[in-house]
Each structure stands twice: as structure tokens, then as C-alpha cells.
Symmetry: C2
């Protein structure tokens, strides 16, 4: 494949700087620790620094010495969710980059590893382009992470498997709850532009009457009348329904359903509308209650805990996040290349390879769910999605068990 | 102790009926399986039935044969959250009880075990009193469960420890998230009248700057101005704040903050206002945003997943739920008594005993947090609460680890 803009500079010597950007995941620290421990092995590395709060820590010269963290302690940090180096939503412009490079040069930082999503990969692209402009020998590598699973070039992203495991465990519970006290339970799941995480809820289905019977993702227009009819039909069939809805669902014109509700929409520096709070769920409940005679209709918005909850991790996701960090160091030290580490899956069930791809093919772009993963009706997933998602959950996914319910004959 | 209304009737022979009422917990099936397996050992037990959907399954004669479930399968069901026998919010009146007894007599059911909270214990009280009135030899035992931990006579209730573990793991994540991307994160926790579950969030604190720095429970009036000042002070001190708020917080007149928001308040058959949706959290965010210049202020409402999530269980809670079910059978078979199983803690750190107490001392009553568990300001818990709560979480509570952050000196 073409990796045109990558340059060889294996003679590079200097310091390593690692940082984390964007939202936390359960395994982002695996990538950080993977990169830090691996970087410590190379003789051309003078020291391994961590920048606090991502690129913001670079301009403010807030560096911690990762060379002096014990490996035992780093392993504990690796197993902790969220960004141990803290995070940022800053989006560098030319002036911001100039400030960064003054600091980077002063410390003789020659290797920069930035762990983040598509906004963060765009940050790496900008920083890398500034380095080229300034003629500064510098290797900048983006290490993927995102619970949304929406990075181009990647079969899947570190962080997704663990978040999916959380969502599946949550829906396993909602399924049990909705059957015990019959009704309709809606779970609002993260996913701004891509429905992967919401779709993963489907893997909570074990028994034929279980939900989520309905799944609504940003890749298909959300039509309230269809939604009401879908829920009505599923409730009539099963007597209990769970529904997985992406926070980022849009109408037929592509307008966010959530922004239709709120007068003022807060945005982050990357221009993304903030999708927070319980308003979308509450609105969907009201929509159903107005039309259906079902007593128990409720919505839970999973919120931040789905990306930061401690103790629910896909072991495969953790391994791959770790490997992505290590591989980034290999690409830098052995090949002297800048780029973005991408996870490939040569065999569906299941192995992975890591490749370095051009930053421009990932930066600021969004991957959406493949058409083959969504059903024709636009309210559920296909078997192909199950096959795609299942291996990412790792081992030991908790499983629900029902009584076999051998009925006692009624007496006269 | 006085257990006046309990009667001896050890010569009783007949069928056992087990049912579950109210909201699910992570370990309610441990109690069901504990009772079922233990009951199967007694010669005077003709068969062990389960009623589907609690007392509703009794009037409709919807019984399953628990004598014919394999013990292996029952163990798997025990480890599954929510009510395997399904649940109900029905509150029996005299006519409802009369219908129940027609069915109960027809099947020669002589032992009734009902697993539930204070509404369910009131159901057992009513059923038991009807049996006495009818002169039907019958043993009715309430087995405690509730994530709210608000049953009188109990040191703590099965279900609470696991829900507390979920809340602590959630707040451990929120703490990490709020520090990584600095701001104020509010978690709305279940707790209609009692603040135990919300207070348990405090055990997520590991580092001195970590939250929840603020905890608001129904036992203390919620004063918006004080809330704003508290958050402002905590944010100035730490730069990041997490706040635990009970869904059931009330103003100085005892009016639910949540009902002040919604025009029509839905109620369950027990007269409880339904506390659902994200409205309370969204309102608290708006309250803070109107007065404080903090950019990131968000609220997550944990919702139903905190009581039904699979895979987060306190092993101690599971053991005790199991024992409570077994002990209920012992009280019935060996002593022929009706009543409510209560968990005592003779030693703070830590052992438990089980006693049978009169149904009237538990039924329909609510236990609140002891004064000594809440701080003088009414916005946090004391060390005494930590000592109370810690043993209930069992083993293997996941722990967060931070980098030690050895700062690199800034260069000139």
C-alpha cells in the first residue's frame, strides 16, 4: 500500500513524548504504557516524557518523567481506565504549533506519540506538517483509540471492544429488567456519527424474545412514526422491549434529533455538538407514551460511565491497545516513520496486524458502519455484524441464564 | 427478642411457593435459589413451586416447577441478576388475597417465601394476616432484598452491596474522566427515601483530590444555593469535581426536587412517585451553569443499569443473599414461623447473623441513614459510613492507579 508521506530517519536520537487526547477509554492507558515501556528499551531514546493534558501540556511544558515510573506501577496504570496523562480537546492552529515546537526543540523531543481519536489524529497531522515545514527531524505517530470505533483504515479501534462489553452487559441487565417488570426500556448509547457501539448492544441477545429488538444508529434516518410502529410491534410480539439508540441519531435531512430539542447547542473546539444529558431519552419516552398504551416506558442514558467504568474490560481490547502502543514505537524506532497505526483483521475469526498508514487517511475523517452490518429496515443489525463484533469482546463475557420454567398445570 | 405473631407449626406438610417482588437486584436470584435448593431437602416438602411475576402469578396460577430445575442450572440462574421468577408491583388488597388463597389452598401450598423490599414485605404481611383470618395453616416468610438498603431491622440488605459496588466503579470512572477533561460530573443515583446507595459513591475516593467531594441524600434538605456554593468551592480547590446525588432529594419542606420539575408525576401502585429519566440531572446542570463559569458541567443518571447490570457483584452480597434464602427455609421448616428474615451485624468488621423478625416491624416502613453517617454540612459522609459500607463490597473491588507524575523541570 502507499504510505507516501512517511519518511525514513532511523538515525534519529532524542526524547520520546507521549500524550493522550479526546475522551477516555477503558484501555487508552494500555497504549500509553505499551509505548512508554517499549520506548525505554531503545538506546537512541534519551528519556520518555509524558505531556499532561495532551497538546496543552506541550505548550505549557507540563511534562512528567515516564522513564522514572516503575514498571510495576505502570502496569497498574495500564489497567486503569481513562487517560492517565490527562486529556484535552484543544485543536492546535499554526500559532499553537509554533509554541509547541519551541518547547519540543528545547527538550530535543524527536518522537511524539499521540493516542486519540479522529480529532487527535488531525492534531498529529497538523503537528507533523509543521515539523516538515520547519525542517525539524521529528517522528509523529498517532495511536488509535475511540469507543465510537469510527476511525478510517482500522478494522476496529482500541477502546471499542471494552465499551461494547459494557454496553452488552448493560443491555443484558435491561433485558432482564424489562422482562421482570414488563415494559419498554430504551438505552441511549454513545456514538456521534457511527453506530458501532449502539449496534454492539445486539450481542446482549441470548433468548429469542430478548432485545434489543430495535437498534437505531446515525447511519440511518430516524423517523419517529416508524420508531413508534416498531416499538408497538415488538411489544405486541414479546410483551417486553429494549431499544438501543445512538445519541447521534439524525432525521432524514441529517439534523441531529437531539439538537432539535435544545435551544442552544454547546460545541467543543472541534465543532462537535455536545451530546449530553437525558433529554434525548426523555423525548423518546414522551414520543412513545403519547401514542402507545404501554405503562412502563423508560430511558436510560449510559453517559460517561460507558467509556470510563472501571472493571469491565475486554481482554482482547486491552492486549490490542497495548500492542498498538508498542507497534507505534517499532514504526518510529525501526523505520523512522510518521503516520497512524491502524489495526487490520486479515482473518474474520480472528487475528490482527498493525500497519502504519498516512495521517491524512485517518485525520479528521469518520468511518461509518458498513451497509452490510445494518438490516434493510434500518432498525437492527445483521449476522455479519455479530461476526464482526463478537471476537472483539474477548473472553469471559458474563451470560444471563433463565429458569427453564416448566409450568405446573392449572388445577380445576 | 419478641416475635409475638410468629406461630410454631413444625408438623406442617405441603408445597413450597417462592416468588419475587419489586425491582431487580444483582443477587435476588441467589436468595431464590438458596430457598429452592434448601427446600428440596426437606421431607415435608411435596414440591417447590415458583410463582411468575410475584403475587400476580399466584392469582393467575402461573407456577413453574422448581423441583425439576437441575441444580447446575439453578446455580447459573443464581449468578444472573434480576428476578428469574419475574416481578410485579401489584399490591394485594383483601379481594386479591382471597383469590390468592383459593389458588394456594387448591395446590396445598403451606410455605410461601417472598423475596422483596419494603413494599413486598407489606404484601407478605397482608397475605399472612389473611391466612390467620382464614384459619389456614401457612408459613409466610419475607426474604429481604433492595438496592436502596432501606429495610428496618436489617443492618444492610441483600442487593445493596452489589449495587454499591456498581456505583463505586462508576464513580471511579467519573473521577478519572473529570480529572482528564477537567469539569464537574454529577452522578444521579437510585435512592428514593434513603441515601445509602448514593453515599456509597464516597468509597470511590482514593486520592485526596478525588470525588465525590459532594454527596446529597434524601435525609438532608437540598438547597440549590448551598449546592452551587459547594460545587464552586470544590472546583476552586481541586479543578475537577464529581457529585453524587440521590434521585430522591427533597427540599426543606420534604418536596421531591424531581417532582418540582415535571407537571405530571407518574406513581406506582404503592403510591411511590416514579423517579426516572434524566430531568433531575439536566436541571442540576442548568442550575450550576447559570451561576458558575465552569465550562464542563455534565450529569449522568445511572438509571436501571445500577440494579440489573450483569458482571458486577459483591461476592459477600451474593453469599448473604444466598444465606438469607436458606435461612428463610430453616425458619419455616425447623420452627414453623412466619416473619421477615433480617441481617444483623454483631461485629462491625465483620460477621453476620440472621434472625426472623415480625413482618409488622419491616412491612411498609423505611429505614433512613443513621445521623452518624452524614457530615454536619449535609453534603458528605463520615468515616463511620466508610466503616459501615466497606465490608459489604466483598473482595476484588477494582482500584484506579495514577501516574506518580514526577515533573520535568521547565527549561529556560
Amino acid at each position: 500500500m502507499a504510505i507516501g508521506i512517511l519518511r525514513r530517519m532511523t538515525s534519529l536520537k532524542g526524547k520520546v513524548l507521549i500524550a493522550q487526547g479526546g475522551g477516555p477509554t477503558a484501555v487508552i492507558n494500555q497504549s500509553m504504557v505499551g509505548a512508554a515501556l517499549e520506548a525505554r528499551r531503545f538506546s537512541q531514546v534519551e528519556a520518555v516524557y509524558g505531556a499532561l493534558h495532551g497538546v496543552n501540556g506541550v505548550i505549557h511544558e507540563n511534562f512528567v518523567d515516564l522513564s522514572r515510573e516503575t514498571s510495576d506501577h505502570l502496569e497498574r496504570v495500564a489497567a486503569t481506565p481513562s487517560s492517565a496523562l490527562l486529556s484535552t480537546r484543544d485543536k492546535p492552529d499554526a500559532e499553537y504549533c509554533a509554541r509547541m515546537f519551541r518547547v519540543i526543540k528545547k527538550h530535543n523531543i524527536r518522537f511524539f506519540f499521540y493516542i486519540g481519536g479522529n480529532d487527535s489524529s488531525d492534531t498529529v497531522r497538523i503537528v507533523n506538517e509543521e515539523a516538515v515545514k520547519e525542517g525539524y527531524d521529528f517522528c509523529a505517530i498517532h495511536i488509535p483509540k475511540t469507543v465510537d470505533n469510527d476511525l478510517m483504515e482500522n478494522d476496529h479501534c482500541p477502546g471499542f471492544g471494552s465499551a461494547a462489553k459494557f454496553v452488552i452487559q448493560a443491555f443484558t441487565g435491561l433485558n432482564l429488567d424489562a422482562r421482570a417488570l414488563p415494559g419498554v426500556l430504551i438505552g441511549i448509547v454513545m456514538g456521534r456519527h457511527a453506530g458501532f457501539l449502539t449496534a454492539s448492544a445486539s450481542l446482549a441477545r441470548k433468548y429469542s424474545d430478548e432485545g434489543p429488538q430495535l437498534v437505531y444508529v446515525p447511519e440511518r434516518p430516524f423517523i419517529p412514526e416508524k420508531f413508534i410502529a416498531d416499538v408497538d410491534a415488538a411489544y405486541r410480539q414479546h410483551g417486553h422491549v429494549t431499544v438501543a439508540v445512538s445519541e447521534g441519531i439524525v432525521d432524514e435531512k441529517g439534523v441531529l434529533i437531539q439538537t432539535k430539542l435544545s435551544e442552544s447547542s454547546e460545541r467543543d473546539p472541534h465543532g462537535n455538538v455536545l451530546l449530553v444529558g437525558g433529554a434525548l431519552g426523555d423525548m423518546l419516552v414522551a414520543t412513545l407514551k403519547a401514542k402507545l398504551k404501554i405503562k412502563r416506558i423508560r430511558a436510560d442514558t449510559f453517559g460517561f460511565i460507558q467509556r470510563s467504568f472501571i472493571g469491565v474490560v475486554s481482554d482482547r481490547d486491552a492486549s490490542e491497545a497495548r500492542e498498538a502502543g508498542e507497534k507505534a514505537v517499532h514504526f518510529a524506532m525501526h523505520e523512522g516513520k510518521s503516520g497512524s497505526v491502524a489495526i487490520r483483521r486479515p482473518v474474520l475469526n480472528y487475528s490482527v496486524d498493525y500497519e502504519l498508514v498516512p495521517l491524512t487517511s485517518v485525520a479528521g475523517k469518520t468511518r461509518h458502519m458498513d451497509d452490510c452490518y445494518l438490516n434493510a429496515e434500518g432498525n437492527g443489525v445483521t449476522e455479519a455484524f455479530y461476526d464482526y463484533c463478537r471476537p472483539l469482546l474477548g473472553s469471559n463475557l458474563p451470560e444471563a441464564h433463565r429458569l427453564r420454567e416448566m409450568m405446573i398445570p392449572k388445577l380445576k
